[in-house]
Amino acid sequence: MKASCYLSCLCTDIKRNALPHILAAAALTLTVPLVFSLTSLSAPLSAQPLEMYLSLTGTLLLTPVFLPEQNEDIRDVVRVRRMPYLTVCAMRIAYLTIIAAVLYGVITVGLVRGESTVTEAHYFGGLFTALFLGSVGVAGSAIGGNTVIGYMASFLFFSANFFLKARFGVFYLFGLSTETGISKLWLLGGSATLIITAFLYLRFVKKL
């Protein structure tokens, strides 16, 4: 398969599928300075906007990754194409992750300019939190067979972190804000596991 085909596919996907979701994530990012102050925050407070708010960009961007093919007619068309469907989905996840990274970069720069205590751990920790939430949505969408179920899984997991807190162990999302000291690499590993599980399910159970 030529690289130009993938590039064309990517452009079409942004234009026809991902644009509203990217705009929603960007709008959420723009509201961060309204909801939080970004100036002179200590390290745990700097983590709050990144973990407790901006992480929802992961849900907004990644959860609808299977949305277009939820329509059976489109799914049938995709099945007969030479371009592997799951490769297209992987490409979607990759570029949406880059967009999430850019949005995280914007807010992290805002925190740095506001002279808040912010480190690489904040940036990557926040981003991994978003990716984990997004991958919960991806897995929910794939296994539930409906994007709404993906949103349900991701939103409920996010909300439950506010009141169940440390009961989630290494998958507790707000570890930097509450200074639990648990590595965020667990969330990154969890994201990879959930996405791979979702892909394996679609490949071998749903035969996509």
Binding site: F36, Q70, G145, Y151, L156
Partner: protein
């Protein structure tokens, strides 16, 4: 019967199983059930000399002194901590706004240059965040000619200047600066009220509904979104449109089926809640119908309102967008709703996070009744409007908007 058929479709769907599990787990098990066994609740009558928690006390000198001292410290550092949307916000005032706070402090204390006065008179208690100073301001009293009403008015004005959500706001000031330990007599009276007036379960039913109300504001959207888009997904939409059944009959049956299904986990957990409470109290003293009664007057209107609104929105915009909007609304509501029983007529989520304080709830019972009637009516009006929208779609007079089609958002 159409209603029974639609109800069967809902309760035997995959999304209902998830809805049921989420409502039972988040709305009941992790809150009501776990809290009762967590060990920090006492189910025995209070004994003299114990600790019974904190309550708001009517002590104007302490309130005015502590609130003014706090405002002075924040003014001197020019850093005010507020929570306008539930999260921390540090406000740094400039120009006219800074001067307005200075005027408020001057009115309260009679000191014109408060910044100079504080730094030259009081000792620094401690510094934090490198250069912010906390002064010990023990004896600074509010002027006698400032009445308590004037004091509250000035503090409300300060809160407005700070953009709201500060500890000086009317809702928060008493809880920040006028708390004291609950006296034994009050604790005993609360306990007796729970046992005698509330027959135990009426008090616990308010706590039960407090938790379920939170989840019932969010979870129905997933059920509504999946259920209403199922016609389109199964390609039965056009077939249903062509049937002779009236729009109002079909939509009413679906609305009633959804609301009934949403109440199933609530009523199921009401049974469990009775069993749980009976583990700690004498069952012969309990009102066994309280949980069901409160579920119907407290949670059912929420279910009707949320279902009606979500049905209408799903008829107008893509279900994915409805889910995102509903979550956003719920998240902001949760962050901005205090857990105390200070609800108003227009608050969809009613909080009462205790089995006690019957009197506090009863004092607000008229507002509660108006609130529940309002949201029931809103839900029914939205459902009626959805009938109209569905009828337009059925007649082909309302299609997908060009914008939504272009963005491929119409795919359910």
């Amino acid at each position: 019967m159409l209603f029974a058929k639609e109800l069967r479709r809902v309760v035997f769907s995959k999304i209902f199983i998830l809805f049921f599990a989420a409502e039972v787990f988040f709305g009941f098990y992790t809150q009501f059930w776990s809290d009762m066994g967590a060990g920090y609740k006492s189910f025995e009558p209070p004994v003299p000399g114990g600790v019974y928690g904190m309550v708001v006390v009517d002590d104007p000198p302490t309130l005015t002194q502590e609130a003014t001292a706090s405002l002075i410290n924040e003014f001197v550092n020019n850093e005010y901590i507020t929570y306008p949307y539930g999260f921390i916000h540090k406000v740094h005032l400039k120009g006219a706004d800074k001067d307005k706070i200075a005027v408020i402090l001057s009115t309260l204390t009679g000191i014109s240059d408060i910044e100079h006065h504080v730094s030259s008179t009081y000792e620094i208690e401690y510094t934090y965040d490198d250069d912010l100073k906390q002064y010990a301001i023990p004896e600074l009293g509010v002027l006698d000619n400032v009445s308590i009403d004037d004091f509250h008015a000035l503090m409300t004005e300060a809160d407005k200047i700070l953009g709201g959500g500060s500890k000086y706001s009317p809702d928060e000031i008493m809880y920040n600066f006028s708390l004291g330990p609950m006296p034994y007599e009050e604790a005993l009276a609360e306990y007796n009220s729970l046992i005698n007036d509330d027959k135990i379960t009426n008090g616990y039913a308010r706590l039960f509904c407090d938790y379920h109300g939170i989840d019932m504001t969010l979870l129905p959207v997933f059920l509504v979104a999946v259920f209403l888009s199922s016609d389109k997904r199964s390609k039965a939409e056009q077939l249903i449109y062509s049937r002779s059944i009236s729009s109002i009959k079909l939509v009413s049956a679906r609305f009633a089926a959804l609301v009934t299904a949403e109440m199933i986990p609530v009523l199921f957990t009401a049974v469990l809640a009775n069993i749980r409470v009976a583990q700690f109290y004498d069952p012969s003293m309990m009102d066994m119908f309280a949980m069901f009664k409160y579920s119907l007057i407290w949670i059912l209107p929420t279910a009707i309102a949320v279902t009606g609104i979500d049905m209408l929105l799903t008829g107008l915009i893509p279900s994915v967008a409805v889910v995102i909007f509903q979550f956003g609304f719920w998240f902001v509501t949760m962050l901005m709703t205090p857990m105390r029983e200070t609800f108003g007529v227009f608050d969809l989520v009613i909080r009462h996070n205790t089995e006690f304080d019957r009197q506090g709830f009863m004092d607000n019972i008229t507002v509660f009744a108006l609130n529940r009637l309002l949201f029931t009516a809103l839900g029914l009006v939205c459902a009626a409007l959805y009938v109209f929208v569905w009828k337009l779609r059925r007649e082909g007079r309302l299609g997908e908007s060009k914008l939504l089609s272009k963005l491929s958002l119409h795919r359910h």
